[in-house]
């Protein structure tokens, strides 16, 4: 009897420690980066281009490039992702059809493909075959493909969580299938879909390998003026500073500043997603 209780308390200690390690690692990384990077971040740092072989100046082109990249990725991935999610959630027999099962496997396999593979796909398909060159367009298309499985899976989840009673109510009133989806299901899945897109994007924001192969430039202080331009991006800029610096002593602080900026950007996007979710919950309660 006693032994049983001891085992129970040991189990609690172990799982509690595991949880602490996870949280602790996150907090430590964040504190370390804040200490190292916050001194560097200033208005000029965020708004000026790099200077003197990237050993001084700011990181504005990289921030701008990453933002453009996110916006374009969203433009490509959102419609396609949501449309496929609607198809799988509403049109393929509610999860029992062979097509749906096949799709589910395909989605999880795609989600597990290493990002460098997406990079190579983007290089051969968009950069070379479709002749978009090393460009914002190629890179954002590549990131869209990378984000799609996540967006589809999460949007499908959001659609399925809309109660069936809404569907029945709409259909019983004489709504066509599309009217049902458009007016009785989609509106209530939108917050979930937006949240999923933001989370997928915030992952894509940190990807380095795919954009390295499709359009991100090592040094390109001029801002991109069209989707066919090369661009700088935060993750690749960090990679470049960390591995190919001409003067590590001078670039190290810039590197920390850039890392902190990227983290803040991603955290900010996550915060927006959380806020949307909270707001929706409040609205749903009337």
């Amino acid at each position: 009897m006693r032994f049983r209780r001891v085992k129970s308390s040991i189990a609690l200690v172990v799982i509690r420690l595991s949880a602490l390690i996870m949280v602790g690692a996150g907090v430590l990384i964040f504190i370390y980066l804040t200490v190292k990077g916050s001194g560097v971040i200033s208005w000029p740092f965020l708004t000026e281009p790099p200077r003197q072989g990237m050993t001084s100046g700011g990181i504005f082109p990289a921030i701008f490039g990453t933002l453009c990249l996110m916006l374009l990725t969203l433009t490509f991935a959102l419609p396609v992702g949501v449309a496929s999610a609607i198809y799988f959630a509403e049109y393929t027999g509610r999860g029992r059809s062979h097509l749906n099962i096949l799709m589910r496997y395909a989605t999880s396999i795609l989600a597990g493909v290493p990002s460098i593979v997406y990079g190579l796909l983007g290089l051969s398909l968009f950069v070379l075959y479709m002749r978009f060159g090393f460009s914002l367009l190629s890179a954002s298309l590549t990131l869209s493909i990378l984000s799609l499985p996540v967006i589809i899976a999460a949007s499908e989840e959001a659609l399925r969580s809309v109660p069936d009673s809404y569907r029945e109510a709409a259909v019983a009133l004489g709504a066509t299938k599309w009217q049902m989806v458009r007016y009785a299901v989609l509106p209530y899945a939108v917050p979930g879909i937006i949240t999923s897109c933001i989370l997928a994007l915030s992952r894509a924001a940190g990807e380095t390998a795919p954009i390295l192969l499709t359009g991100a430039a090592y040094y390109h202080p001029r801002l991109p003026t069209s989707i066919f331009d090369q661009f700088m991006a935060l993750p690749f800029h960090i990679f470049a500073l960390a591995t190919q610096s001409v003067d590590p002593v001078k670039t190290r602080p810039i590197q920390f500043g850039a890392v902190l900026t990227l983290i803040m950007l991603v955290l900010g996007m996550n915060m927006v997603a959380i806020l949307i979710r909270i707001r929706q919950r409040r609205m749903a309660q009337g």
Partner: protein, 253 residues
């Protein structure tokens, strides 16, 4: 084909996968009457009324055999426009299921999807439907309030009003009071009686008193078969089947 029957069901068989829920059922529903469908849980009551607006089509493994005639026309005929059928045969569900929108928008949903744009005529439809569902006086000052802020009974009357807004001919009610308290139930019941003036009403219930109070005709279903059907008073006072009698006297159910 007799014209006094709004709905004629012939040799109906409905199954889900291998499970047969309705086995060879024949019934004629009178126009402008309240018909109650009674029976113990799982006897096929809901399945039966969901065949009348083809809502069972939403269930992939559901299969239907036989004929369901609405005004003499088979609704399972391939030429039948299911969307138009569902406009003509409205439905109210067991649990009130208003959309999480305003009261006004809930009523306007049906007219809008059927192409009534808005403005005065929509306002009129909303008022007329809410009046017909005996809800107007309670909500006329707060049409923009969320439907979910209403009480359960009010929500159910809102759902009835929403169904009325597309001007149906038949109204199916699937245990409309099972989630409501006695006071709200009384309101829905008197509403059902008043609705038969303009509509053919079919109500599924497992509450015998309710069937006795509101209906003109009562059908008793047991294990997917129609055991008894006739004028409500006759069915209750002088049931022809032992099963019906046992059910009415509360020996099972």
């Amino acid at each position: 084909m007799s014209s006094e029957y709004k709905i004629e069901i012939r040799n109906l068989q409905v199954g889900f996968g291998k499970l047969m829920v309705i086995k060879n059922l024949n019934i004629n529903i009178m126009s402008n009457c309240v018909t109650a469908v009674m029976g113990p849980s799982g006897c096929g009551k809901s399945t039966l009324i969901r065949t009348i607006n083809r809502l069972n089509d939403l269930v992939p493994e559901c299969h239907v055999k036989g004929q369901v005639l609405l005004d003499g026309r088979d609704i399972y005929d391939p030429s039948m426009d299911v969307v138009e059928l569902r406009r003509r045969v409205g439905m109210v569900f067991q649990k009130p299921n208003p959309f999480p929108k305003s009261i006004y928008e809930n009523i306007a949903f049906g007219p809008r999807i059927h192409g009534i744009a808005g403005g005065n005529s929509l306002d009129e439809i909303v008022e007329r439907s809410l009046r017909a569902a005996a809800l107007w006086d309670e909500v006329k000052d707060r049409l923009d309030a969320p439907a979910l802020s209403l009480s359960g009974g009010q929500q159910q009357r809102l759902c009835i009003a929403r169904a009325l807004a597309v001007q149906p001919e038949v109204i199916l009610l699937d245990e409309p009071c099972s989630a409501l308290d006695p006071a709200a139930t009384a309101k829905i019941e008197s509403l059902m009686v008043s609705l038969k003036k303009d509509y053919t009403v079919i109500v599924v219930t497992h509450n015998m008193q309710q069937a006795a109070r509101v209906s003109d005709f009562t059908a008793f279903l047991y294990l997917g078969e129609l055991v008894e059907y006739g004028e409500t008073r006759r069915v209750f006072e002088n049931p022809s089947s032992k099963l019906t009698e046992d059910f009415i006297t509360g020996r099972f159910g």
